[in-house]
């Protein structure tokens, strides 16, 4: 079936009008839609972040009810995780994987259309979840944080039902997208493109896709039980009826911990393409990086309860989760070593994608260090639910996921549009973005350790100065993304012609077939599969 679709439209260019997008089965168009959606939602999620930082600008309650503040925290996290990073990574996969492995399109093009179009529906539901609590009689705001723990999530108002359905839709969307990507990688490679000849980005997505297929249904099950507890009188998590709220935490983190690798791995795949390019050396230890990801995949599935050290688990399981969590830092560290060894004695140049890649290696290592601190049970009992944890995961997720996506955008924009982006503006964006990011989140380590809790609208005036610094930097950080938007629009509209191979270094080592295509590539590429020697 699927290939028929690709076949029919074979010889003509893109269809005209809105139908091109609504009914698209073309991997490049769907990739573009994913990326556009993610960039749009970045500004929505960013707006709630700005709101949070404005509230925290000074101690005391500025302009938010505590419940509404916590709703902003929930909303921000859910949007950034599910509506920005995951769709953007899926967009990159759509655009790049078929071109890299010499496939005419994704394996299941119609499913691809569905998995994208579920997203805007979910986004609307998610935004409604924040608006609904303002109507009379709808109960409290969604004040639980993105972790949706009961009993609070059972008590929360109607907005929670919207969140639950959002999670359902997003889950279906990402499961469908993952199935599609995994099938494409496994079955659609051009003759001669063996698994170990694939660009690292494909490997990264193979693991990401498999992880999502395993974990997303568990989250869906968990929130379904939550819905039942709320409306149908079951007691999965309700202690009064014999349930156990901690069970939800296990279900959530069984999903939640591997989820951080879902966010991380695509970007690791991206910088595994960028660093060799700008070091003009093949990737150091291709197979060891694949192995590292496989270990991460496996250990990541059995480490979840390090988020629950404080719930009163017995010593045995606590020790298990501590040891596994600390072990995980070994493959993570080795991955970073792969990158450093690739740069070692390379002929490095620092175009914008490379600037991002190098800064990611540096800043992400720092998240690894704070991660180890949090992995140690006695220490975590002190740090848990403080701003220190917030600092840890923003250092993990912004470099580890978001900046990797920016790097990818700069790296592949010339291929996608045929135009070179403005290198000077790109560099300005990089420095502005990274400096502001550090000024925002680095101080959170300090006031976190000093005892400022997370998810609380007010704080001790002792933390006022550093919070003000965080807030001011956060505004600068937020605004920097307008520059990114401008650069992207400018590149799409025109610029110096990029040529088929905008980066001469991209030809070293294990490379994909994307560089053999023109920039921008034809609407239908590799209709007849190329042969890889």
């Amino acid at each position: 079936m699927s290939t028929d679709v690709a076949h029919e439209e074979h010889h003509h260019g893109p269809p005209k009008g809105i139908g091109r997008w609504l009914f698209s089965t073309n991997h490049k168009d769907i990739g573009t839609m994913y990326l556009t959606f993610a960039l749009t939602m970045l500004f929505v999620g960013g707006a709630s972040a700005m709101y949070i930082r404005a509230e925290l600008f000074m101690p005391g309650i500025q302009f938010m009810e505590p419940d509404f503040y916590n709703n902003m925290v929930t909303n921000h996290a859910l949007i950034m995780v599910f509506a920005v990073v995951m769709p953007a990574a899926a967009g990159l996969a759509n655009w790049m994987i078929p071109m890299m492995i010499g496939a005419p399109d994704m394996a299941l093009p119609r499913l691809n259309n569905l998995s994208f179009w579920l997203l805007p529906a979910a986004a609307v539901m998610l935004i409604l979840s924040t608006i609904v609590p303002f109507m009379p009689g709808t109960g409290t705001a969604v004040n639980t944080g993105w972790t949706l723990y009961p009993p609070l999530s059972i008590q929360a108002g109607m907005g929670m039902d919207f969140v639950i359905f959002t999670v359902h839709i997003l889950g279906v969307s990402s499961i469908l997208a993952s199935i599609n990507i995994v099938v494409t990688i496994l079955n659609m490679r051009a003759p001669g493109m063996t698994l170990f000849k694939m660009p690292m980005f494909c490997w990264a997505w193979l693991f990401t896709g498999l992880l999502l297929i395993i974990i997303a249904p568990v989250l869906a099950g968990g929130v379904t039980m939550l819905l039942f507890d709320r409306h149908f009188g079951t007691s999965f998590f309700d202690a009064a009826g014999g349930g156990d709220p901690v069970l939800f935490q296990h279900l959530f983190w069984f999903f939640g911990h591997p989820e951080v690798y879902v966010l991380l791995l695509p970007s690791i795949g991206v910088i595994a393409m960028i660093i060799p390019t700008f070091s003009r050396k093949p990737l150091f230890g291709y197979k060891s990086l694949v192995g590292g990801m496989a270990v991460l995949f496996t250990l990541g599935l059995v480490a979840w309860a390090h988020h629950q050290y404080t719930v009163g688990m017995a010593a045995g399981p606590t020790t298990w989760f501590m040891i596994i969590t600390i072990l995980i830092s070994i493959p993570v560290g080795l991955m970073l070593l792969n990158f450093m060894m690739t740069m070692w004695r390379g002929a490095m140049t620092f175009e914008t994608p490379m600037l991002f890649a190098v800064s990611i290696v540096l800043m992400f290592s720092f998240a690894g260090v704070t991660g180890i601190m949090l992995a140690v049970v006695p220490a975590d009992l002190e740090y848990h639910d403080s701003m220190f944890v917030v600092a840890h995961f923003h250092y993990a997720l912004i470099p580890g996921a978001l900046l990797g996506l920016f790097a990818a955008a700069f790296y592949w924009l010339p291929k996608w549009t045929g135009n070179m982006y403005d290198e000077r503006l790109g560099k300005i964006f990089f420095w502005w973005n990274v400096i502001a990011f550090n000024l925002t989140f680095f101080p959170q380590h300090f006031y976190g350790l000093a005892g400022m809790p997370r998810r609380i609208v007010d704080y001790n005036p002792a933390f006022a100065d550093l919070n003000m610094l965080s807030s001011i930097a956060a505004f600068a950080y937020g605004i920097s993304h307008l520059l990114f938007l401008y650069i992207v629009i400018k590149t799409v509209k025109g610029g110096v012609k990029a040529g088929n191979k905008p980066w001469e270094g991209a030809q070293v080592g294990t490379t994909g077939l994307e560089w053999d295509l023109s920039s921008p590539p034809p609407f239908h590429s590799y209709a007849t599969p190329p042969v890889v020697k």
């Binding site: 394996a107 099938v183 974990i215 997303a216 017995a314």
Partner: protein
């Protein structure tokens, strides 16, 4: 069939097969989430690794044959908590007692329904430190069943227990805590509409 067509055909079959396998994993994992509900309880009960104190809910022991350790004292502290959905009075009659392991004791908690309607409530126990949970045996407890109280009704509720002599030597103080909650889920939203009086904190 030409060669590329044939290739396409086998490609499609392969895709269908892989999709099916991945789809089965999805269904299986969805089921796994629900299987966690009984599994979780089984694992926790079998190994006592669950939430601290959960295993102290109701094992009947025959205390007549166990040896009483006359020379050993353990302090038991009693704590009472109310879930925010329940507007009752609830407190232990004594806040702490010293006991010999192996000997049976009886204490009681007092509860009173301060509202103007009948309420069915349930007390959920917890024991600190968690290591002691498996050594705390209750022979009778108001937490074994749901408690129904009419408007304004109040009563003493008994609790009989024995500390297992095998309790590790280093545990000298043990805290037993009960949280009472309304079993009617709507109550949560009801009480949230009415501003709660500050006195929901436990007294006594």
């Amino acid at each position: 069939m030409s060669v590329p067509e044939k290739r396409e055909k086998t490609g499609q079959n392969k895709n269908r097969k892989t999709t099916l396998i991945l789809g089965l994993i999805v269904v299986g994992m969805f089921g796994f989430g629900f299987a966690m509900v009984p599994l979780y309880r089984l694992v926790c009960n079998a190994t006592g690794i669950g939430i601290s104190g959960s295993s102290g809910t109701g094992r009947i022991v025959d205390s007549s044959t166990t040896k009483v350790q006359k020379d050993r004292w353990v302090t038991i502290q009693f704590d009472a908590l109310l879930n925010e959905n329940l507007r009752w009075d609830f407190y232990p009659e004594v806040k702490k007692i010293n006991v010999h392991p192996g000997q049976s004791y009886e204490v009681s908690y007092y509860a009173k329904n301060k509202t103007d309607h009948k309420i069915v409530a349930k007390a959920v126990p917890g024991i600190t430190p968690w290591q002691a949970a498996t050594y705390f045996h209750k022979t009778e407890c108001f937490c074994f069943t749901q408690q129904t109280m009419d408007a304004g009704e109040g009563r003493d509720m008994p609790l009989k227990f024995v500390i297992d002599p095998a309790l590790p030597e280093d545990i000298k103080i043990l805290t037993l805590s009960y949280t009472f909650m309304d079993t009617n889920r709507e109550s949560i939203r009801d009480t949230r509409e009415v501003e709660l009086p500050v006195s929901v904190k436990h007294e006594g």
